[in-house]
Every structure is written in structure tokens, then in C-alpha cells.
């Protein structure tokens, strides 16, 4: 029985852009350019450096309806580089790849095996004797259990199941190719190389059922270290499974409690310390951070009265730290409005449920389209609208208080 290593990766989403980061003066623009490509180049370099026997790509190499064949040419070139190093590639189409026509147009190098999509296919890796079973997505939406059709394990060989699935279902992911852990176990394989879910997850260890997570986080909901799983086989048995970080930039959400801050600058100073800490644990990657300021605070008014200024100040802090990109500044603070503010809210019944419902109902189709054009696919629209309505109430009250306090309104004696 042979000993070797292989790399398991999925969800490359090559050339899909990083979402939700606005470019600004001083931001580390070069650090984020072509991030998905560079992450994949990291994978190829790691495969060669680790002298792996083969690489498994468990679906979603490409991104949805991305049509530029340059992406495919780039991918093929990288696969050839692996071939030049004697490394085989076992590739399975995911739901995105099924949608991406370019998968069918690429001339695959000799070292690449693409799993069939009509029926499960078993391939013996001649050099190691390992048997890989897999079936790619023939269409975008596969809603039946593909694994059910996979053959039972070959005796005396290391059996690896390659599958693009949401298992029993995972938040934020379409429930494609549903299956159960028990169903997978029943096949008697040694390792299930799964794809589709972007968060790394070791579902089981006996046998190994692993989501490696995507190669590069692409928006604020894909935080933390991203990469592939390096599997070591010793004497035909999976000896170890370890995560290898391959991402070139890292997303993070930093929540700072500024309840005790006495001024806006003090609050931002707290944020800066938190950013510095997060950057220090980012393994040298550029950090893309969402900063959430929270807590009932006196600085709420100062922050809300000029959000742009607060954001600009935070960006300056990030630029000073270096290699930190501010994705956004979120104000989850609430204010000490004081008696007059409360009186206004009461007198005008601004918290009235019916009034709030009326305002939400007043949103026009044009406005919904406008919001839809800038929201992410899986983002909660109603939740966002409610948040905006809360902020609108704060804004209205702040404006009224400013009007009451504005100079020139005092009586002249």
C-alpha cells in the first residue's frame, strides 16, 4: 500500500470580484487585485512544493455566469504547470461550473481528469492506486442526491468520493445535491472530498468528510483563513488532514464597544487598536475589515451627524496601520437622546408601529431596484430596510434637535 499526499480544494470562483469594498485614497489597491487567481497560484505552488500526488478540485472552479474565457485559459495554464510537475488533477463540475459554459470549451491537459456528469465515474490513479469516484453537475440546479448513485468502495484501494453538495443544508448555500452523512458513510470510502460550502468544515473523521471551504474569501460574510486541505496517506490510510491557508487577503468583522468613549476620536482610537490586533493575527495577509461600533454612547450623535467624516477618520487610521482596508463602518450605537428627543419621538409618535409599517410600505419599486443593484445575492433586504428605518428615526430626531438648538431662534429681548 502506497503513501502519498494530495490536496483537496473547492469553490475557486476564479475571477469573481471581491464585493462590498469601496476604493478610497490610500487603500492597498494592489493587495486585492486578482485575489482569486493569486490564491489559486498559491495552491499550485503549494502542490508542487509539497510534491503531492494529485489535486482534487471539488466544484465551482468558475463563477456563475462569468463568460470571459481568459479565466479558463488561465486555469488551464495553471493545470499544465501541475502536469509539468507530474501532478494529476481530478476535477468535478459544481453548480457554478455547470452554468459556466467555458468548462466545456477548455482543452484539458493530459494530467487532468474531469468527472463525468451523466453518471458517477470511478477513476484509478495509476501512480498511487487510489480510486476516485465522482459525478459533476450536469446542470446548475441538481436537487437530488448524487452520492446515492456512487459505487461502493473498491476493495484493497484507497477510495475517495468527490462530491459537490450542501449535505443536509448549510446557511447561505443552495441546497444542491442533498445527501446525508450517513449516506456517505455507507459507501465505505476513506475520504469524502466535498465542495460547495464556503466555510471550512470537517464534518466527520471516520471516514473523513471534509468541506475545505473556498480558496479566497470574497465578501464580508466569508471571514477568516481560507485555503485547501492537505491530506497525507500513509500505507493506504488517511493519516492526517490539515488546513493550508492559501488566501491573499483576509476578511474580518471587528465589533468595538464604544459605550465608554467620551468623544468620537476616542471611539475611533478604540477601533484602531482592535484593527491592529486583527491585523497581527492575519498571517501577513492584507486585512479587509468591517468595523462595527456598538453600545449606548454619548458619541452616537457625533458619529451619526457626520458619518462620512467618521469613516474618513477610520480609513486614515487604517492607512496609518498599513495593509488594512476598511470595508465599512457600521454604527450599531444608540444615543442618549435626552428629554427633548424623547418628547419629540412621543409627540410625533415616531415609534408608532403603524407609522413604521407605512414608511416601509412606501418604498417604491424604483427604490427596491436601486437597493437590489447594490445588495448581495443572499443579503436580507427586509432586515436592511428595518435597520435603515431605525437610523432614519435617529436622523429625523437629530435634525429636529439641531433645528431647535440652531442659533437665531432665541427670542430677542
Amino acid at each position: 500500500m502506497s503513501s502519498f499526499r494530495f490536496l483537496h480544494a473547492a469553490d475557486l470562483h476564479l475571477d469573481s470580484p471581491l464585493r462590498g469594498i469601496e476604493r478610497y485614497e490610500g487603500a492597498p489597491v494592489e493587495a486585492i487585485r486578482n485575489a482569486t487567481r493569486r490564491a489559486f497560484e498559491n495552491l499550485v505552488a503549494t502542490a508542487i512544493a509539497e510534491s503531492v500526488a494529485f489535486v482534487i478540485l471539488a466544484g465551482d472552479v468558475f463563477d456563475g455566469d462569468w463568460r470571459d474565457f481568459n479565466t479558463g485559459l488561465f486555469f488551464a495554464r495553471q493545470l499544465r504547470a501541475l502536469g509539468d510537475a507530474g501532478i494529476r488533477v481530478y476535477l468535478l463540475a459544481g453548480n457554478h461550473d455547470a452554468a459556466a459554459h467555458m468548462t466545456r470549451q477548455i482543452e484539458w491537459p493530459a494530467n487532468v481528469t474531469v468527472f463525468a456528469t451523466k453518471a458517477p465515474q470511478s477513476v484509478v490513479d495509476e501512480a498511487t492506486g487510489a480510486v476516485l469516484h465522482g459525478q459533476g453537475f450536469p446542470t446548475r440546479a441538481v436537487e437530488h442526491d448524487l452520492a446515492a448513485g456512487y459505487p461502493v468502495a473498491h476493495r484493497g484501494a484507497l477510495n475517495i468520493g468527490v462530491l459537490h453538495t450542501a449535505l443536509e443544508g448549510r446557511d447561505g448555500h443552495e441546497r444542491y445535491a442533498p445527501c446525508t452523512t450517513a449516506g456517505l458513510r455507507a459507501k465505505g470510502y476513506d475520504y469524502w472530498a466535498l465542495g460547495h460550502v464556503h466555510a471550512r468544515e470537517v464534518v466527520a473523521e471516520a471516514p473523513w468528510i471534509v468541506f475545505p471551504g473556498n480558496l479566497q474569501g470574497r465578501h464580508i460574510r466569508e471571514t477568516g483563513s481560507k485555503g485547501a486541505t492537505l491530506v497525507t496517506v500513509e500505507d493506504g490510510i488517511v493519516a492526517s488532514v490539515e488546513h493550508v491557508a492559501l488566501d491573499v487577503l483576509r476578511w474580518t468583522v471587528i465589533t468595538v464597544d464604544v459605550a465608554d468613549a467620551k468623544s468620537r476620536d476616542a471611539a475611533l482610537d478604540q477601533a484602531r487598536h482592535a484593527l491592529a490586533r486583527a491585523r497581527d493575527v492575519a498571517e501577513g495577509r492584507t486585512l479587509v475589515a468591517r468595523v462595527v461600533l456598538a453600545g449606548r454612547s454619548d458619541v452616537d450623535a457625533a458619529l451619526r451627524s457626520d458619518r462620512e467624516a467618521a469613516l474618513a477618520a477610520l480609513r486614515d487610521e487604517a492607512n496609518a496601520l498599513g495593509e488594512v482596508w476598511i470595508e465599512s463602518l457600521r454604527l450599531a450605537t444608540s444615543s442618549n437622546l435626552g428629554g427633548t428627543g424623547k418628547d419629540l419621538i412621543d409627540a410625533l409618535a415616531l415609534d408608532d408601529t403603524a407609522l413604521r409599517a407605512n414608511v416601509l410600505a412606501s418604498v417604491q419599486d424604483d427604490e427596491l431596484r436601486l437597493l437590489g443593484a447594490v445588495q448581495d445575492e443572499h443579503e436580507d433586504r427586509d432586515g436592511l430596510l428595518r435597520t435603515l428605518l431605525d437610523e432614519a428615526r435617529e436622523l429625523a430626531v437629530r435634525r429636529l434637535l439641531d433645528a431647535a438648538a440652531s442659533p437665531g431662534r432665541g427670542t430677542s429681548r
Partner: protein, 1051 residues
């Protein structure tokens, strides 16, 4: 809350002033203060008491900033109360009035209920302007809702302003169909970026298409190249045939002209040229030799026909010389007659001058004359004497002038002497003048100056004295005038009378205290009165003078001034008089000095000016005497010169005369003698000149005749020798003919010499041509040997053969090429070539097209190199979207805020409309004594809510615009009172502070307003500040029974 007491402890102009405001249920407190009473400070004090003394307070003009203090006592509706003192400062500003202990700075919070200074001043501190403003705000809101939304002090208009700003902020960011708003612009940008992504993207199918297209293009290019290569090969072969056909034919033709079997050697390319050169040289030599021979023979024939030399050539030199002589002789003979005429004229001149001198012309007489002239005919001493005498000029006229001068001088001297005697009293004669001693001019001038100075000083002093005396008279006159106006007391009189009084007093004391008898002393002081009366009299007089002095102080001062002036003038007059006296003394001394000086001269004593004239006259007389002497001397000298000249003339005369000869006669005779001598000398000179000319001319005529005879002889000799045919010719013409014959003989000889030389040259040329022909023949023999023939006529054929072979060898072996031509015998090579050329052009174009197509397809294919251009553009879109999201959220936040506020406002209006208007209607009815009974809302034509009032006797309602100014003021007060009343129904009331708000109301209306305010003050304390007595009086009329209390302000 109400204010029970306001203590103006140290504030503005106030110190320890207190207003007791505790009376009444709540009470209408009318605080009356005239202008400058501190009403404004008191008004400010209420706000400062409740909310703190302003850091920049201007009420520190009596008490320093740190000393400012206010005190008060507040009470709420439910009975809670607080007494306190407020100081100026930042903390611990509220103090217990008893202990001065700090009460805590938030001690008033339970009384103020969240109302801040701004709101208090806006809502509860009302002057006329604020009243109107608040009421207008209510009217503007259209629904009569309360003036301020509870707790905020914001009116409906302000709220609407906030709403409108929110709406416009949102609208400024985005609207559905806008283009230039920020969000719309970002959307457009993203759309254009998406198009860029589409244009940068390429599909896999497209990539495959491009690859296949490139492969097809490669195949097409290969096929086109193959066809073109075939055509190229065929064309090359035919081109070769075309090139060699002519040399092959030439070779064949040459071979036919040569003997069969002749082996033709390969000749070099210069052979033909060399052969041609040799043949040309041979032919040219023959032709030139024949021509030279013919020419030479012709010349020889011409030479033989020429005659020999003419013998005249032997005498050519003599002919040449005689030709020159002939011209000279001819010219001399032509002048001969002119010389003869000239000789006749000269002879006549000589005879005339000889006659004048009385000489017979011959050799001896001429020699004697020449000697005489050489010695000189005229006497030089005579000429000198005449010249010297003539230089004296007109002697008679000069003598007369000198006589006149002497007489004039004598006459003037006599006249001057008479004048001198008359003015100086001089008794002496003319000679005495020279020894007369007179003072010198400088001394006299000095005395004259001193007299003048004295006179000027004397006049100035006199004038000064007159002026001062006039001034003194004026002062005295003025003083007299003052005295005429009444008794004029004087300080001196006062001193005197006081001294008298004091003296009398001392006497009184002595008499009274010591009982002395002082009668005498008293009488000495006042003889007229007894001591007591005298003392009283003196005292009275001193007092009177003193009084007068005081009463008449101006006159006295003036009189004193005039007296002082008069004294001063008198002193100055005395001074001037002293000076005049001194000056008179000095003048007397000067007169004495002058008189002594004048006397010394022995003349009459004269003033200096006159003496200066006398001195000048004496000087003139002395001058005239000197002039007289000079004239006498000049006369004597002149007469001496005349005498000398006369003597010289007499001596120089040819016949000496008597010594007493008169000057004029002597001069006349001498001039005549001089003229006669000069005449004789001139005639002699001219005679000699004429004689010399006659001799010369006679010599020249003889020489001409000799030359002509010699020339005729020489010509006759030459003609006899070599031209007998010219024997009878005139010698000049014979010489000319001979000269011509010499020239002809010379020309003939020159021609013979030329012909001889040319014939010799032609002989040389004939010989050279023979040698060149011989050399050419040798070359041709050599060429035949080289070509392998014996006959030079075969050489051209050999050459043609050799040339054709040379040409063919460039393409191949001549025999093979001959066979190739034979193979294509009968083909139309040119036509075939044209066809192939067309084929080649077509295939060439095809190759070019295929190459371009391949390049293009390859470029298109290679352009897809896997680069992430589209992906990077997609990244830019994502970044733009992120930026846009911030703006979209901002837009929605503002739009939501506006909608929330609009909804809230609508509801608020609905809930608060009616009660305020009802209350305002009641107040209006009260204020207008029932003329208007209600305030109501309505909606105008534009759907906007408006306020109307209803009159008691009319059914219709009036819009606010139609009310009079007075009624509108009443409506304003009603609305404000209504809104406050409504507000205080639910909340703790606050004192309402009114600053002269009734100022524009007439008596009836202000009384009604006070009534209404008193009514309003049942529930809310009202402080009405006024500085109008009318309001105070009307309030007094109502009095405490109506709940009206008057407070008067005193700073």
C-alpha cells in the same frame, strides 16, 4: 411654576431691590418703570435667575462680574417651593439664601421641567415682535396647533423646514429619472463599466472559433504558396529560352560564314575593338597622305609664279627719312608769310620809339641805349623826397585843425576859471590854481556822510517825539473821558484812605484804651472833623473806594492801564528829547571841525557838497591847462616835419632851387621832374624790345628758305638714282610716291617667305602618314594569327561566333542551349510568358491575402492570453457598487426620515388642532369685547389649511389678511394665549413674561387686553413689564380685586 419673589441683589443698576410677586392666585403683575429705571435689566434678570448669569453679561456696569447676585423664590402648582440666590460662575452657582451653602446646580430642575433658556425665551418671554412671530407661526401652520411641540419649542413651520430639508437632501442624491444626481451618475457609470466587461470578455466558443480560423488560414496559405512556386519554375525556364534564342541564332549564322571545319578559338572581348582600331588607322593614314601631297604641290606652283625683289628696297631708309623732312619743310613754308608780316610790325614799333627818344637806329645807338637803361635813368633821391612829402598829407588842413584846438582850449579854461572864482571865492590867478591846497575828496565825502547821518538821526528823533506826544495826548484824553463818566477810584486812593483809616484807628485806640490825648495828631490827619467822625469818615471813604473799585473794576482797570500807558509815553518822550539834545551837541562839534578844515584852504567856508563841486571845478581847470600845453607842442612838431620835407624836395630837384622854396611849389616841381624821367625810361625799354624782335625774325626767315632748297636737292638725287619716271614731280609728291613703292616691294617679299614655309611642313606630314599605315598592317597580321585565319576579311565572322558563345556560356554549355532552343523551336515563348505572368500575379495576391488573414487570425487568437482585463474591470464594478451602496443607504435613510416625520406631523396636527383654536377664540372675544367670537380653520382653494375669524354680527368668516392691524395684533395675542393655556392644561405652567406688548393698543383695547391677561393669569403667572404710565394707570384701575398688582421699579 411661579415666581414668588425676585431679588435684584446686585445686578445691572439695582442694589438690594426686591419684587414681591407672591400675591394673587397666579396674578397679573404689572412692573412699571420709567425710562432709565432698569426695566431691561429687570427683564433680563428673570431669565438669568432661572438659567444662569450669562458669562458675557453686560449687567456688570455697577457691580463687578463676580459680585453679580440675583435671588428668588419659586413655587410649583403642587406647592413645592425653593428660595435661592444665584451667583455668576461655572459651578456652585445656586446658594442657600440663609447659609450661603451650595444647593447643587440642578436644584431648579424640578421647577423648570426640562425647559431650557432658549425655549423659555422663545415661548414664554414675549415682546411685541416675538408675539407676532409666534402667532404668525401658528397661522402659518394652518391648524392652530400649539406654538411649540411639547418640550422642544419647535413650531410647525420649523418642523416643516426640517422635513423639507430632509426631502430635498434625499432628492439631491437620487430620483428615478434624473441624470446628474450622484446616485444616478454612479448607476450610469456602472452600466458603462458593465458594457466594458462585456466587450473585454470572450467566450470559449469564440476562442475555439478563432483557433479554427487560424488553422484554416495556415492551410490556405500553404496551398497558395505551392501554386505560386509552380508558376515561378515555368516562368524561369521560358525566360531562359527567351534570353538564349538570339545568341544561339548568332552563333549559327557566324559558323556559316566561316570555312567548314575551322576550329574557332575563344576570343577575348577586346578583339573586335582591336581589329576595328587597326583597320581604321590604315584607312586614315592613306587618306591623310593623299591630301597632304596634293596641297604641297599646289603651293609649289604658286611660289614659282611670284616675282623677285624691287631695287627700290635698297633706298628704303632714305625714302623714310625724306618723308619726315617733307612734312617739316611743308609746315615751315606755310608759316613764312606770317613771319614776314610780324617783322613789318616790329620794324614800325622800333621806328616810333626811336622817334620818341630822338635816336637814329644803328648798332652804336642801340648799344648806348642799352647801357643807359642798365645804369638807370630816374634819380632815386627824388622819388624818396616826393614819397616822404606825400606822406605828410594835406598840410594846410592840419595846420588849421591845430589852431582851432588851441583856441577852444583857451576859451574853456577862461570860462571855468570864472565859475571857480564865483563858487569858491578864489582871488588868485590861473597859475595859483596849481598850488592851491584843498581837502582831498575822501575827507570831504566822510564829512558829508557824517552830516547826512546827523541830519537823518535828528529828523527821526523829531518824528518819534511827535508821534509819542500824540499818543500821550490820546491817552490823557481817554483818561479824561473815563473821569467824566464818574469818580474813578484808584488803588492808590484806596491804599491812602486805608492808611488814613488805620492811622485814625490807632489814634482812637490810643485815646480810648490809654486815654491819650490825640487831638493834634488827629487834626493833622483830618482837620475838618473830630477824631470819631474823622475815623468814621475815613472808614466810610475807604469802604466807598473799595466798593467803587470792585464795582468799577473794569473802568478802574482801564484807567490804570491808561495811566500806565501815559507814564510810559512820557518817559519815552523824555528819552527822545535827551537824545535830540546829544545829537545837537555832536552836530555843533562837527560844524566846528568842518569850518576849521575849510578855512585852511583859504577859501570861503562851504558845505561839504558844495566844496566837492569846487574841487571838481579846480580839477577841470588843471586838466584844460595841460591840454593847452599839449596842443602847442603838437604844432611845433608838425611844422618841423614840413620844413624837413621841403628841404629834401629842393635838394632832389634836377635843377637845384633856392633854399626858401615853398613846400607846395617844391612838391609840385619834384613830382613833374619824376614823371618826365619815368617816361623816358619806358620808351627806351620798348625800343630795345622792338629791335631785339626784328633781329630774331630776320634770322628765322633765312633759315626756312635754306631748309626748303636742301630738301629739293635731296629728292632730285634719289629720283635720279631709282625712279627716273618721277623726274618732273614736285619733290613732296615724289617722296610720297617713293614711299608707296617701298611698301609694295616689302609685301611681295613677305608672301614668298610664307609659301615656302608651308610647303616644307606638308612634306613632313606625307612621310608620317606612310609610317602609320605600315604599323596598322602589322597589327592586322597579328589579329589574323590570333583568330586562326590567314584572311583578315574573315575576322568579323570569327568575332560574331566568339561573342555568341561568350553570351551563351553565362546560361550553360552552348551545345546544350542550342539543343534547348531546338526543342522550343516553333513555340510562342513571349505569349506563354505573358500568361504565366498573369498567373503569378494572381497567386502572389492570394499568398498576400492568406498571409494577412493568417496574421489577423493569429493576432486575434493570441490576444486571448488569459489576462484578467475583464476580471479587473469586474473588480472595479464591485468597488463602484460598494461606493454606491453607501449613497443608496444614505438616500433611503433620508427618504425614510422625511416620510417618518411627515407621518408624525400629520398625526400631530390631527390630534392638536381644535382645543387651541377654541381657547384662542375665547380670548379674542374677550379682547375685542365680543366683536369677534371664534377662530376656526378651513382649507383654501389650494387645499392648504388657513385660519379665519368669525365676527359676532356676521355669518361669514374673515381671513386674517382682511383684518385691521389692531385686530390682527389682538388675534396674535389670542392665539399665543390660547396655545399657552392649552399647553398648561397638561403641564406645569411657567410664568409668562411680557415686554410692553400692549404698546400698539389704543386705550379701550389695552384695557380689554389687561382684562384678558388678568383672566389668563388665574392659571399662569403673568409679568407685564411696561414703561407706559397709561398701562400702569389702567392696571391700577383694575387693582388686586381683578388679580392685578402694580410694582414700580427704582434702580
Amino acid at each position: 411654576m411661579r415666581i414668588d419673589r425676585l431679588d435684584l441683589i446686585a445686578f445691572g443698576p439695582f442694589t438690594g431691590v426686591a419684587l414681591d410677586l407672591a400675591q394673587g392666585q397666579q396674578g397679573l403683575h404689572v412692573v412699571y418703570g420709567e425710562n432709565e429705571s432698569g426695566k431691561s435689566s429687570a427683564l433680563r434678570a428673570i431669565g438669568e435667575l432661572l438659567f444662569g448669569i450669562d458669562r458675557n453679561s453686560t449687567d456688570d456696569f455697577v457691580h463687578g462680574k463676580t459680585e453679580l447676585r440675583l435671588g428668588g423664590s419659586l413655587r410649583t402648582r403642587d406647592g413645592q417651593s425653593l428660595a435661592f440666590v444665584r451667583r455668576k460662575g461655572n459651578q456652585n452657582v445656586l446658594l442657600d439664601p440663609q447659609s450661603d451653602a451650595p444647593l447643587g446646580d440642578d436644584a431648579l430642575a424640578p421647577f423648570l421641567r426640562g425647559i431650557d433658556r432658549g425655549e423659555f425665551e422663545r415661548v414664554f418671554g414675549l415682546d411685541h415682535e416675538r408675539l407676532r412671530k409666534n402667532a404668525l407661526a401658528l397661522l402659518d401652520s394652518g391648524d392652530g396647533a400649539t406654538a411649540a411641540i411639547v418640550g422642544s419649542g419647535l413650531g410647525i413651520p420649523e418642523l416643516r423646514g426640517v422635513l423639507s430639508r430632509l426631502e430635498s437632501d434625499a432628492d439631491g442624491l437620487w430620483s428615478p429619472r434624473a441624470r446628474t444626481k450622484p446616485i444616478n451618475e454612479d448607476q450610469a457609470l456602472i452600466r458603462s463599466l458593465l458594457q466594458e466587461v462585456a466587450s473585454l470578455s470572450v467566450t470559449g466558443a469564440r476562442w475555439n472559433e478563432l483557433r479554427e480560423a487560424m488553422q484554416k488560414a495556415e492551410h490556405a496559405l500553404a496551398e497558395a504558396k505551392r501554386k505560386k512556386d509552380e508558376a515561378d519554375q515555368r516562368r524561369a525556364r521560358l525566360e531562359r529560352v527567351r534570353r538564349i534564342r538570339e545568341p544561339v541564332a548568332a552563333r549559327r549564322a557566324a559558323r556559316e560564314r566561316l570555312p567548314a571545319g575551322l576550329i574557332v578559338p575563344a576570343l577575348d572581348a577586346t578583339f573586335a575593338e582591336r581589329r576595328s582600331g587597326a583597320e581604321t588607322a590604315l584607312a586614315t593614314g592613306r587618306a591623310e597622305q593623299a591630301a597632304a601631297t596634293e596641297r604641297r604641290d599646289d603651293l609649289r606652283r604658286q611660289l614659282d609664279a611670284q616675282p623677285g625683289d624691287d631695287p627700290i628696297l635698297a633706298s628704303a631708309a632714305i625714302v623714310h627719312e625724306l618723308t619726315g623732312t617733307a612734312a617739316t619743310v611743308k609746315k615751315a613754308l606755310a608759316d613764312l608769310e606770317k613771319r614776314r608780316t610780324e617783322l613789318a610790325g616790329r620794324l614800325a614799333d622800333r621806328d616810333r620809339f626811336a622817334a620818341q627818344l630822338g635816336i637814329h637806329v644803328d648798332e652804336s645807338s642801340i648799344t648806348a641805349l642799352r647801357d643807359r637803361l642798365d645804369r638807370g635813368v630816374t634819380d632815386p633821391s627824388l622819388a624818396r623826397a616826393v614819397r616822404a612829402a606825400q606822406q605828410l598829407g594835406d598840410v594846410v588842413e592840419q595846420r588849421s585843425r591845430l589852431t582851432d584846438r588851441r583856441e577852444s582850449s583857451l576859451r574853456r579854461f577862461a570860462e571855468a576859471l570864472v565859475r571857480f572864482r564865483a563858487s569858491s571865492g578864489y582871488q588868485g590867478d590861473a597859475d595859483g590854481l596849481a598850488v592851491l591846497v584843498l581837502p582831498d575828496a575822501e575827507t570831504v565825502r566822510r564829512f558829508a556822510a557824517r552830516f547826512t547821518t546827523d541830519d537823518d538821526g535828528s529828523r527821526a528823533l523829531e518824528s518819534e517825539q511827535e508821534r509819542l506826544e500824540a499818543e500821550a495826548r490820546d491817552a490823557i484824553a481817554e483818561l479824561d473821558g473815563l473821569a467824566r463818566d464818574g469818580e474813578l477810584p484808584a488803588e492808590s486812593a484806596l491804599r491812602e484812605s486805608r492808611a488814613l483809616r488805620d492811622d485814625l484807628w490807632r489814634l482812637v485806640r490810643r485815646a480810648w484804651q490809654k486815654g491819650e490825648d490825640v487831638g493834634a495828631a488827629a487834626a493833622a490827619l483830618d482837620a475838618e472833623h473830630a477824631l470819631p467822625e474823622a475815623f468814621e469818615h475815613a472808614t466810610g471813604r475807604a469802604d466807598r473806594i473799595a466798593d467803587l473799585l470792585r464795582a468799577e473794576s473794569k473802568r478802574v482797570a482801564k484807567a490804570a492801564e491808561l495811566l500806565r500807558t501815559a507814564d510810559k509815553l512820557r518817559a519815552r518822550i523824555d528819552d527822545v528829547a535827551r537824545k535830540r539834545s546829544a545829537l545837537a551837541d555832536s552836530r555843533a562839534a562837527l560844524d566846528a571841525e568842518w569850518t576849521a578844515l575849510a578855512r585852511d584852504a583859504g577859501l570861503r567856508v562851504l558845505p561839504p557838497e558844495r566844496l566837492r563841486e569846487v574841487i571838481a571845478l579846480r580839477d577841470e581847470l588843471l586838466g584844460l591847462r595841460d591840454d593847452q600845453r599839449t596842443t602847442d607842442s603838437d604844432r611845433a612838431a608838425f611844422e618841423a616835419r614840413v620844413a624837413a620835407a621841403t628841404g629834401a624836395l629842393a635838394r632832389a630837384l634836377p635843377h637845384p632851387a633856392a633854399t626858401d622854396l615853398d613846400y607846395a611849389v617844391a612838391l609840385e616841381r619834384a613830382e613833374a621832374a619824376l614823371e618826365s624821367a619815368q617816361h623816358a625810361e619806358s620808351a627806351g625799354t620798348k625800343l630795345l624790345a622792338a629791335h631785339d624782335a626784328v633781329v630774331d625774325l630776320e634770322h628765322r626767315i633765312a633759315a626756312i628758305r635754306g631748309d626748303a632748297a636742301q630738301f629739293a636737292q635731296d629728292v632730285a638725287d634719289l629720283v635720279a638714282r631709282c625712279a627716273a619716271d618721277l623726274n618732273d614731280r614736285e619733290p613732296g609728291k615724289a617722296v610720297a610716291e617713293l614711299a608707296q613703292r617701298v611698301q609694295i616691294a616689302r609685301d611681295a617679299r613677305t608672301r614668298r617667305e610664307t609659301l615656302t614655309k608651308e610647303a616644307a611642313t606638308l612634306d613632313e606630314k606625307v612621310a608620317a602618314c606612310a609610317i602609320r599605315q605600315q604599323e596598322a598592317r602589322r597589327q592586322l597580321d597579328d589579329l589574323c594569327r590570333e583568330a586562326g585565319v590567314t584572311d583578315a576579311s574573315l575576322l568579323p565572322a570569327v568575332e560574331d561566333h566568339a561573342r555568341a558563345e561568350r553570351e551563351l556560356r553565362r546560361e550553360g554549355r552552348p551545345e546544350d542551349l542550342d539543343a534547348l532552343v531546338t526543342a522550343h523551336e516553333g513555340d510562342d515563348v513571349i505569349a506563354e510568358l505573358a500568361t504565366i505572368e498573369e498567373t503569378l500575379q494572381a497567386t502572389g495576391r492570394e499568398v498576400d491575402a492568406c498571409t494577412a488573414a493568417l496574421l489577423e487570425s493569429r493576432r486575434a487568437f493570441l490576444a486571448i492570453d488569459g489576462a484578467p482585463a475583464a476580471a479587473q474591470k469586474a473588480e472595479e464594478i464591485a468597488q463602484r457598487r460598494a461606493a454606491l451602496r453607501g449613497k443608496v443607504e444614505d438616500y433611503l435613510r433620508k427618504a425614510f426620515a422625511a416620510r417618518l416625520l411627515a407621518g408624525g406631523l400629520e398625526r400631530y396636527r390631527e390630534q392638536h388642532a381644535t382645543p387651541v383654536l377654541a381657547l384662542a377664540g375665547r380670548h379674542l372675544s374677550s379682547l375685542t369685547r365680543g366683536r369677534y367670537v371664534a377662530v376656526q380653520t378651513d382649507v383654501d382653494d389650494h387645499g392648504k389649511p388657513v385660519v379665519r375669524v368669525r365676527a359676532a354680527n356676521e355669518r361669514r368668516e374673515l381671513e386674517v389678511d382682511r383684518l385691521s392691524d389692531g385686530t390682527r395684533d389682538q388675534l396674535c395675542l389670542s392665539l399665543v394665549l390660547g396655545s399657552l393655556e392649552h399647553r398648561f392644561a397638561h403641564t406645569e405652567p411657567m410664568p409668562v413674561v411680557l415686554d410692553d406688548v400692549l404698546v400698539h393698543f389704543d386705550d379701550e383695547r389695552s384695557l380689554a387686553a389687561l382684562d384678558a391677561l388678568a383672566d389668563f393669569a388665574r392659571t399662569t403667572q403673568v409679568l407685564l413689564f411696561t414703561h407706559h404710565g397709561r398701562i400702569r394707570d389702567q392696571a391700577l384701575g383694575l387693582g388686586p380685586t381683578h388679580g392685578v398688582f402694580i410694582h414700580r421699579l427704582h434702580a
